[in-house]
């Protein structure tokens, strides 16, 4: 019987001088991942964007639990967008969306 895929949900906060659009957010993340780990590495991540709020500069992304370190490293390596400085901080990591929202509330 195939094993259930284990995932990790990450709550992120984007810090930048200008608002970052959804499209830009996706593209900088994929660029960072490709730069650090290449196409082979990126294929193992199982990344998907669950939610992105441009006003509050917060996002929730999902990845495979095995690729958590890769995703964190890629996110930490992001330093600029359109040649303007920015940073993305991982606020919380959790195994389920429910637990992530609970942690965020606490």
């Amino acid at each position: 019987m195939p094993r259930r895929v284990r995932r990790r949900y990450l709550a992120l906060r984007v810090v930048s001088q200008e608002p970052v659009s959804l499209r830009d957010f996706k593209s900088i993340f994929w660029n960072a991942l490709l730069q650090l780990f290449g196409e082979y590495g990126a294929s193992q991540v199982g990344f998907s964007l669950i939610d992105y709020n441009q006003q509050s500069c917060q996002a929730i992304v999902r990845c495979s639990h095995k690729a958590l370190e890769m995703v964190r490293a890629s996110i930490a390596s992001i330093t600029e967008i359109n040649e303007k400085p920015m940073a993305i901080h991982v606020m919380r990591v959790s195994g389920t969306l429910k637990a992530l929202s609970k942690k965020a509330q606490s």
Binding site: M70, A76, T79, H89
Partner: protein, 246 residues
Amino acid sequence: MRMFIDLHLRPSIKDLNQVKKMVRKSSELGYRLVGLSLSPDFKREEFGLLQKICKDANTDLVTRADFFPRTRHELLNDLRRFRRKFEVISVVCASKMMARLAAKDRRVDLLSFSFTDLRRRFFDDAEAELASKALSSLEIDIASLLTSKGFSRIRLLSRLREEVATAKKFRVPVIISSGATNSLLMRGPHDYASLASLFDMTPSLALRALSETPLTMIEQNRKKLSPDYVAEGVRVVRRKNNCLDV
């Protein structure tokens, strides 16, 4: 619970707003101790202000001096004059001779090397052996990894991987610090641990390099700098007025 330490924040000390912003940010990111690079001839009032900023942000200040000696005389002179003034002494080794001298000297806490010119990173087996005997640590600033790109980042990662392996072989402690000049280059301890996996540091070793390793060093140095310290294993327990009559 682990106490995380960022030993190398590099704001411009004259710009107190920037210092405040960075110290607050590091507290938000989960650091309980922050090391600020100070100029060796800093004033007492400056120190008071910095201490207040750190206290307001709920962090502890670690005073640190970075030396860039060019000659043997300069290094020894700096160490003689400033060792008892700072809690952490770091030497940025620009030449092989300086690297060997700094690694041999027990007064040096951190060995730091150029991140831009990789030919000037002299942390090889001989250097590691000396550092291991003198109990100094290798410092890795992650900011330089974040700011480099393309081929220079590839080369830096490969060099850091070699150095971490050498440090492991000779049991030289590795300390990871931010080296950030502004708040946008600062990251949380777990993010640094993930970035350290890029040069083959295991998550547990990386987290130790951000907590226990620098903490042990700071505690030892604070003990040595206290007025009660006499020598290794000897300290003043009571002073004249408090002594019992025998």
